[in-house]
């Protein structure tokens, strides 16, 4: 079963640089949500903050009702065992083959026998379409395979919340479609909650129940998919249409020109400015 994640007033900065501020929304239990946003808007930082790898400056995160930003490292490990995370490039352990990578969480956290572990690992490899690849090392396979193996490892402890950082970047359109189908299938069969960071517009348009978008250091929107797809917000429309014409420019820094370094625009100004551009 999936868990709900409530994010309230979350703000994160590195030194003087604010990555995003005052982000509030709820990931509904058992549903698939997608987080969009131009490169460098802090999507990866957001996922890492959700699992406690970064501590936010302000705000709270409740996972299944438990506040995690104030937990100690030891208590965090207990919460993290209910989560599966797929990092941007799979983040497999380079010193182990794929089989041992996927078996790693089982060997660390369960008392299963090697025979039971083999059954589970082979099942997960099968699930991501990599049966027979267990002997390969992460350095010997393509980026797409690393991501799928990383997903298999994330799934091995039957997580209730699965976070994926750009699972489809670097994959061809057919494989991206298969991966989307796999995620939908996992969601149906396990009921886990998903949060997926992606750049793929097709994925965003078909897969999720909800869509959120980070832009200019704030959460522009988080709402049911149909609502976002029908939105007339210029940022959302430009991003979903992959249009060069609109408020989003070539470089993230340029988008912020005119509002001083590192500050977030007030809501009215932000809206007004983009209305003119659109």
């Amino acid at each position: 079963m999936g868990v709900a994640v409530e994010i309230d007033g979350l703000t994160k900065s590195f030194g003087a640089q604010t990555v995003w501020s005052d982000v509030s929304f709820t990931l509904p239990a058992g549903e698939i949500s997608v987080l969009l946003g131009p490169s460098g808007t802090g999507k990866s930082v957001f996922l890492k903050t959700l699992v406690g790898l970064f501590r936010p400056d302000r705000g709270t995160i409740h996972i299944d009702g438990e506040e995690i930003t104030s937990l100690h490292e030891r208590e965090l490990y207990r919460v993290r065992r209910r989560l599966g995370v797929l990092f941007q490039d799979g983040a497999l352990f380079g010193s182990m083959n794929l089989y041992d990578n996927i078996a790693f969480p089982l060997r660390e956290h369960t008392r299963k026998t090697e025979a039971e572990i083999r059954a589970i690992v082979n099942d997960r490899l099968d699930l991501v379409g990599m049966s027979g690849d267990g002997e390969k090392f992460p350095g010997e396979i393509s980026g797409g395979m690393r991501k799928r193996a990383g997903l298999a490892r994330a799934l091995v402890l039957d997580p209730e919340l699965i976070l994926c950082d750009e699972p489809d970047s670097g994959l061809d359109p057919v494989r991206t479609a298969f991966l989307g189908e796999l995620i939908a299938e996992l969601n149906r069969t396990t009921g886990a909650t998903f949060l997926i960071v992606t750049h793929d517009i097709n994925t965003a348009k078909t897969l999720p129940d909800h869509i959120g978008m980070l832009y200019l250091r704030r959460l522009v929107a988080f709402a049911p998919r149909e609502e976002i797809l029908a939105s007339d917000d210029p940022v959302l429309r430009q991003f979903l249409a992959a249009d060069m014409d609109g408020p989003i420019g070539m470089a993230e820094e340029k988008d912020a020109v005119g509002n001083g370094k590192g500050e977030t625009l007030p809501e009215e100004q932000y809206r007004g400015e983009h209305r003119e551009d659109a």
């Binding site: 490990y77 993290r80 983040a91 352990f93």
Partner: protein, 252 residues
């Protein structure tokens, strides 16, 4: 300001490592593998540096003792110089330049591939799993390297005095016993131990904090070598000064 913060973070990292060292299960396999790796990258360069270094010390002291009219002490003086100072210095150079740098590169690569984040998410503390065994391996190997350098120095001094300069073995050992003491070796070995621990801690700390892709790892490795050298030489001075305060010297 940045230096102070980094120093504070490094001290905190050291304390974390000490704490994690007492947490079970101890990663014996990883420690042995790391120790073996360290020996394999450092033993040959250590020997190749120790022999000419010992020879230079012997030549310098041979000439100096002649100027002072104390030729009979030349062999012993060079051995003591090697055991007291050359051993720990060669150990520091090798353990930081080869060992610490390799650890930094290894952990840096894992950091930018997000392996360390993945480990934390999977409920494993990278400090306990990766840093502790490396620090222990480095400490053990540093003591060993220092022993190797001392042995090479003593053997070299013997060859130099007895075989090349026609001294007698008896007078060589007698002059040696007149000046040196076991505490010299203990002091040198304890410095080597500290160097091994510090070089590994610095390498691991900078590797785990590398950022900015492969270039960032390169910079971290560079920094780890430079910082380790500076720190180890400073620590060496302090520990020697303390040694001379605490341990009375023969003949003085």
């Amino acid at each position: 300001m940045r230096v102070f913060r980094a120093t504070g973070e490094f001290v905190a990292f050291g304390l974390d490592t000490v704490r994690a060292a007492f947490r079970r299960p101890f990663q014996l396999g990883e420690a042995i593998q790391q120790a073996w790796f360290l020996v394999s990258v450092s033993i040959l360069p250590t020997a190749l540096v120790a022999i000419p270094f010992g020879a230079v010390v012997a030549l310098q002291l041979g000439s100096l003792t002649k100027q002072l009219g104390a030729q009979s002490f030349s062999g012993a003086a060079s051995v003591i110089a090697v055991v007291r100072e050359a051993g720990p210095i060669v150990t520091a150079l090798l353990i930081a330049g080869a060992g610490g740098a390799a650890m930094c590169a290894d952990l840096g690569a894992r950091k930018i591939r997000e392996e360390l984040d993945a480990m934390r998410v999977l409920g494993i503390d990278p400090v306990q799993r990766l840093v502790v065994p490396r620090v222990i391996a480095s400490a053990v190997v540093a003591v060993l390297l220092n022993g190797v350098v001392s042995a090479v120095g003593i053997a070299g001094g013997y060859v130099f005095t007895v075989v090349l300069q026609d001294g007698t073995p008896g007078s060589y050992f007698a002059s040696f016993a007149a000046l040196g003491q076991v505490a010299d070796l203990v002091s040198a070995e304890s410095r080597a131990l500290v160097f091994g621990i510090l070089a590994a801690l610095i390498g691991c700390y900078l590797g785990m904090n590398a950022k900015g892709g492969p270039k960032g790892v390169g910079q971290a490795v560079n920094a780890s070598v430079v910082i380790s050298f500076m720190l180890l030489f400073a620590v060496n001075f302090v520990m020697v000064a303390i040694y001379f305060q605490l341990v009375p010297q023969k003949g003085s």
